[in-house]
Symmetry: D2
Subunit: 345 residues, 4 copies
């Protein structure tokens, strides 16, 4: 940490701080400039951060300089990680396509969507049985019945299942069906849930909070990691800005940035960020080109009947184009599509 003294700070003010830091077991290095004095702090950051340094006489600002996450930081783990979900890799060597319906509605719709997804190159099936909805009057998902449908479709198609969990109490149940647990944007700081998925023994896909900084997103991942689970995939899904032409603003820069700060894989959700079907393919290409380790995409056999987010689901014609993107873009990034890797020779 660095303490910046105000222009009127006295020698006594500086000495008082040096004493407080020493009392807390830290060390203070004083740099006296012409107009400002700066004090560099060394020691146990958590302990120093708890002091009311901002409230001490003469202090103008207190700046934290080291990242507050440890387990997910790339500082201590320079090699980027690969997370495996039912045998499917998500990591630096691959681009993994995760696709399926936004919400599980019926066995037929789910199977049909899964087959569409697989044909486009998907190696993991997404689908929601528990849907966090802004309105209590909107469709909230089928619950366990939906999980059973997902398990049946996995059986039929061989695609491991990624599904959202919205309540710490449901983690055990969802983990008994799913191959990967998804934590959604609205729960990005639901710490009880983060700890529960951390203890679940399942890989976790952690969506970025819609107003979370990259640092807060990594802190959320740290909550999961702290329970002993480092099988975490970060998912950028758009942030909230003043622009209303899109549902959210896809922060494509977050892909290379999060990969530089953390060793965890980073994927992108182009469906929920754009919110319009005709943005999904451009954003998918952009995500892969920026270096994303995968994408997660809504597909629906009959979007006009969808109970949730129909307007952003890809339909049949789009999927051929998606398949072409999955074939042609990853090699330019020195990666392979996870589907090609897993395909029988």
């Amino acid at each position: 940490m660095v303490i910046v003294m105000g222009p009127g700070a006295t020698r006594e003010n500086v000495e008082a701080i040096v004493k407080v830091i020493a009392a807390a077991g830290g060390e203070a290095f004083v740099s006296r400039g012409v107009s400002r004095t700066i004090i560099g702090l060394v020691g146990d950051i958590a302990q120093l951060a708890a002091l009311d340094l901002r409230g001490m006489p003469g202090v103008a600002d207190v700046i934290r300089v080291s990242a507050p996450y440890k387990l997910v930081s790339r500082d201590n783990h320079p090699e980027r990680s690969t997370v495996r979900v039912g045998g499917v890799p998500i990591g630096p060597d691959t681009v993994t396509l995760i696709a399926g319906p936004c919400a599980v509605e019926t066995p037929e719709q789910t199977l049909e969507a899964a087959l569409m997804a697989k044909a486009a190159g998907a190696t993991l099936l997404r689908g929601g049985a528990y849907k966090p909805r802004t309105s209590p009057y909107a469709f909230q998902g089928l619950g366990e019945a939906g999980l059973r449908i997902l398990a049946d479709v996995r059986e039929e198609t061989g695609l491991p299942v990624v599904t959202e969990v919205v309540d710490a109490d449901d983690v055990e149940l969802v983990a008994s069906y799913a191959d990967m647990l998804q934590v959604g944007t609205r729960n990005a700081q639901n710490f009880a849930l983060l700890q529960a998925v951390g203890a679940s023994g399942r890989p976790v896909m952690l969506k970025r909070g819609m107003s979370a900084t990259i640092e807060e997103w990594l802190m959320a991942a740290e909550y999961v990691a702290q329970r002993g689970n480092l099988d975490i995939v970060l998912c950028e899904r758009g942030i909230r800005t003043f622009e209303t032409a899109t549902r959210n603003t896809l922060d494509v820069s977050a892909v290379p940035l999060a990969q530089r700060l953390s060793h965890l894989p980073v994927i992108v959700d182009p469906s929920h960020s754009g919110g319009h079907r005709d943005l999904v393919l451009p954003l998918t290409r952009a995500a892969i080109a920026a270096g994303a380790d995968g994408v997660i995409i809504d597909v629906h056999p009959h979007p006009e009947q969808a109970l949730c987010d129909g307007p952003q689901a890809l339909v049949d014609g789009d999927l051929d184009e998606l398949a072409r993107v999955m074939e042609r873009f990853p090699p330019l990034l020195g990666k392979v599509a996870a589907g090609d890797l897993l395909a029988p020779a």
Copy 2:
């Protein structure tokens, strides 16, 4: 809802939509302009909203025009509501001061803070036993031990207790100690928690999500209300913007706006929005002047030793000024300080 057709939309496109709406039990009114055709929809909004109207040929935009909340809407309940917490009113006729320590640390600190709060005119005691913290390495609160301290201090001071609950599983326990349950900004879309506090039988203080629109905030309240609990107080606590000089940007306009849209009382948290001690009093005055039905403020007897948010806690000297504000501003708004109302003659 209103459907806006694109400039190239044909008569057939319009007719197709009219049919789809009729099939869904709604009615469609077509306004043909020179460059655009507009279709006004009438019927069960939830049902119409589920259709993929945006995906139909010729459609340029679909605009929802009626508010999606009902129970908390002022449309259906023109009189503004008063919520009572252990006998203390929060509503249109009063300005209620809620104060206390950000986090309960020790019995002594909590009692001392409560006495400071009471002297400044507080009629409700705030204090956190469960603290949602961005970092898993930060102090997370004392849990039930903290609740017991709060209950003891209530006994001693007569101040009913407002405290945060962060997990649906804890609601029953927290409700057994507290007079009012607080749902924090990070849980503003934790729907399981909203439903649990809705079923708790306790009044609820619902903080606005840091990136929630006013509409989303009212939808969150609707989740609580739907479980039969209309004793909800809305709390504006600052939103996330590009400005970094404050911790959050207090959206003071949200006070009159939320009061116009909803019958629920609206209070303000000037401590967490500003994040600096010397902003608390100016923002408290601004909140009351904008019409807020109360304020909730951090106080701490020794902020330099606080385990949480020390830099924003008011200290002794500030409290005299706070007392003066509570005395002089409410009458200008045609209100009385709740403390004066309750004081013995």
Copy 3:
């Protein structure tokens, strides 16, 4: 400035930086912590800031700690300033009401609005002759004809005139009619215009850019000040955020913050921030309660016929309430309404 070294930085990396700083005429103080080394820099900030320190090996971050503005900073001018406009003070001792039509349309409308404003306690007349409009198809103002109308109305009412200038080329002309030049939010970083008003010899009202940080706002003021003009009044008018229920989000915290960082007076525009008539009075009260040195408000005798921003103009009934606010709120802040100060005994 402070340089934060990355975890892998070597002793040589640190020494290289110390040398570069010394070569640039500065001094570097090294604080070696367990996981991080911090280097505090002392010297000519502008010169040091021009170095590509971020690009040097081992550097993780470079943090600037001193404010980049000087002439408008309160550091060097602890006493808050009063700016006088045609004899009317705007400063720490007063609350000044500036009111009038958004746009000058006709002599009658302008005079009528000015008389309404004066009756409500206004001591300065606002009115736009040059209107910056998002659409080239919208009414752009009467130009010099509008300035003549303003001058005539000043003659008739005695109210000095505040009016916007949108182009550096117009500054001389506008200054020949107006008592104070206004620079609007869209021109908050139009540096040619800022320099031109700085050289005009007239007091300047500088609106905050709708996406300007408080620091950038003060830097814009520094551009004006640098041309020898310190008669600057800062005007908070709302910032752009994700919230769409208001036209802009009034950042009421900016009032005490800007007053702490700068010696310049700070006023608020509640009309353009809220964008709705029924928000104007609550926001006016909030602004004054937060310590604003004045407010600038749209009034219009017939808003339904206004060529610009009719929906936010106050009308007759509101003005009585505005007069009451101007009478009752300033004394609570230790201020007097500028109108009372100027009124004959």
Copy 4:
């Protein structure tokens, strides 16, 4: 436009509106729902928009449904346009690389940067002679001397020149040297400047305002177009959000969106959006993959000595990689690099 009546609106309220619209030469279509009445308006939007409809009794909301821009709209010009700058195309068939130093400093530095740019595939040279800087104490550019350097380097390298103009008064001078005029983000609503470049006879590159919606950006283009100049290239350069890890947040979705709404070419500035050298290549790839018609990139032979934005300039090693991106990505989008198109057989 659509008027949404409030729940308490009476038949008389609706009739009053119908009359006002008729008086303004428009037509009103009434859709009466169970809880709401909607009125669709048809007629001259500019005229209807000037009415204070929001202020009329019973009105809850007024929604504009047609785009306010015409000349730049794709509605009236479905074919996407190609703009030619000194013979170099920017449009739907090509990806054009524009590169050069952020600021022109010396003839040597500019020539060296231009040769680096050309080697990487650039067909247009960027370089600033007039620099809009947040601080009045920062380097403001060489002015006309800089323009002369750019003209000399064009002579030497054959690269047409793109350079920024910051003041309407300078447009004629800058246009006498430059092949394309750039309007920067801070001047995105400097309407005098927009009109002046519109009348200059030169192609214009219009950067998006850092807080401009896509609609406002297109309205700014409409100001240029209205003066008879449709040779406009839109440039996305990042928007202001809460995220501080990047200088701005590149809104990559704006590329396909602006291309759908307007016939004008859309390019991306990955240097100023990211603000870090190591984000430039990932964002360049993302921009091209999203469909951008070009990119504009800072290069500098010695960024550690740069007077402006050194930390984001590409250096030698990066340029080989940039050349590879320009070679391999455009074909995947059905485009060719403009450089390949122009290269001699």
